[in-house]
C-alpha cells in the first residue's frame, strides 16, 4: 500500500498529475469522512479538505515522512484544530491529563445532532454508530476516526496528536467504552451484521 503511495509521489514529483489523482482517489473518502466528522458541517469540511491537498501539493518537495497517509492526516488535524480555535478562541484543545472522560469544552465542541447525511442512512447500522461517535469528545473522536477510517497505527496517532502512545490508547479505550455503552441495544444487530 505504502509502496504504491511512494511510487505515485515519485511520479508526481516528475510532473505526472495523474499520479496525484490516484493518491487523491485513494484517500478522498477516509480523509473527507474524518474531516466531516471532526468539523461542524459540510462547508467547513469542503474548505478543509481542499486546503489539506493544497498544502500537501505545495509541500510535496519537502515531504520526507515514511507514511504519506500519516502526513496527510497530520495536515488535516492541524487545519481542524486551527478552525476550531478560530471559532472558540477562548477554548483549548491541548491535552491536559490522560483521564479526560469528562471534558465539557470538547463535549460542547462535538455536535451531538446527526449530520445531514445521517438522515439518509437513518435505518442503516452505520448511522447509529455515527450518532454515537458524534457524541464523543473531540480528542477521543479523533483517535477513533484516525484508527478506524485512516487505519493509522497508535504510534502515528500519538505523533499527530503530539501525545504519548499510552494517552492515545487511553483515549481509544474511553471512546470504545462510551460507544459500547451507547450502542448497548444495537449489539445484537451489530453482531448479526458482523457475522
Amino acid at each position: 500500500m505504502e509502496t504504491d503511495d511512494r511510487t505515485w509521489l515519485a511520479e508526481y514529483r516528475r510532473g505526472s498529475v495523474e499520479a496525484l489523482a490516484m493518491l487523491v482517489e485513494r484517500y478522498r473518502k477516509p480523509l473527507f469522512g474524518f474531516i466531516l466528522r471532526m468539523t461542524e458541517g459540510r462547508d467547513d469540511a469542503d474548505d478543509i479538505f481542499q486546503e489539506v491537498w493544497v498544502r500537501a501539493i505545495r509541500n510535496m518537495s519537502s515531504y520526507r515522512d515514511k507514511s504519506f497517509v500519516s502526513w496527510l492526516f497530520r495536515i488535516a488535524h492541524n487545519l481542524v484544530i486551527d478552525r476550531v480555535r478560530k471559532r472558540r478562541p477562548m477554548e483549548t484543545l491541548m491535552p491536559r491529563t490522560d483521564d479526560e472522560a469528562e471534558n465539557p469544552i470538547e463535549t460542547r465542541l462535538a455536535d451531538p445532532a446527526p449530520g445531514p447525511d445521517s438522515e439518509v442512512a437513518e435505518r442503516e447500522l452505520g448511522a447509529r454508530i455515527l450518532r454515537a461517535v458524534e457524541q464523543l469528545p473531540l480528542e477521543q473522536k479523533e483517535v477513533f476516526l484516525l484508527r478506524t477510517q485512516a487505519g493509522l497505527s497508535f504510534k502515528d496517532i500519538s505523533k499527530i496528536q503530539q501525545t504519548s502512545i499510552n494517552t492515545a490508547l487511553a483515549r481509544m479505550q474511553y471512546a470504545l467504552n462510551k460507544l459500547r455503552h451507547l450502542l448497548q441495544d444495537d449489539y445484537a444487530a451489530l453482531k448479526g451484521a458482523a457475522t
Binding site: A21, A45, I57, S62, V133
Partner: protein
Amino acid sequence: MSCKTYRNRILLEQSGELGAIQRALLKRHIAGCAECRKFKEETLIVTDAARTLTADPDSAQIENILSFARREVSRSEEFRFRPSREPLLRQWRPALLYAGLSILLFIAFFAVISPVLHPSRQGAETAVMETRSALAWDDGFDEELDELSNMLATAAKEWSNGDASELDEIERLARELLELEGMQI
C-alpha cells in the same frame, strides 16, 4: 497486570503493533478473562462497522485540487529540478565527508613518502646522531675533537631550526670527525 493494560494490548494487536510474545500473553489472559474477551469482541464489531462511516467529497472539489496541481506543475519550467528544501549542511554532507577523507589520505601519503623523497636529510640526521654517540666516550679528552663536535652540534641545531642549506656540510663534518677517530659509519 490489570485488565486495562490488556485492553491496550488488544487495541495494539488489532493495529498490528503487538509483538509475538505479548500476543501469546494476551491470548492466555483472554482465555481466562470474560470481560476482556467481551471487550475484544465488541471492539472488533464497532471498529469494523465504523469503517463504513466514510463520506464522499464533491467531484468539483477533486477537480479543483487537480487543477491546482496542474498549475503547480506547469508554473515552473524547472519543476522536475526544483531544489531540495533540505538544510544546506545535509545536502553537502557527502561532499564534505569525501573532501575530509581526501585531505587525510593526502597527508598520510606525504607522511609516508617524505623520507623517500628526502633521503639526504635523513642520512644527515642519522650521521649526526651516530657521530655524537660515537664521540661521547672521549668528551673533553681531545680539544680538536671537542671543537669539531661542538661545531657539529651547532650545525645540527641550526638544521633542526629550519636551516637545511648546509645538510651536506653537516654530513661531511660528521664523517671527518669519525675518520679522525678511526671509525666509519
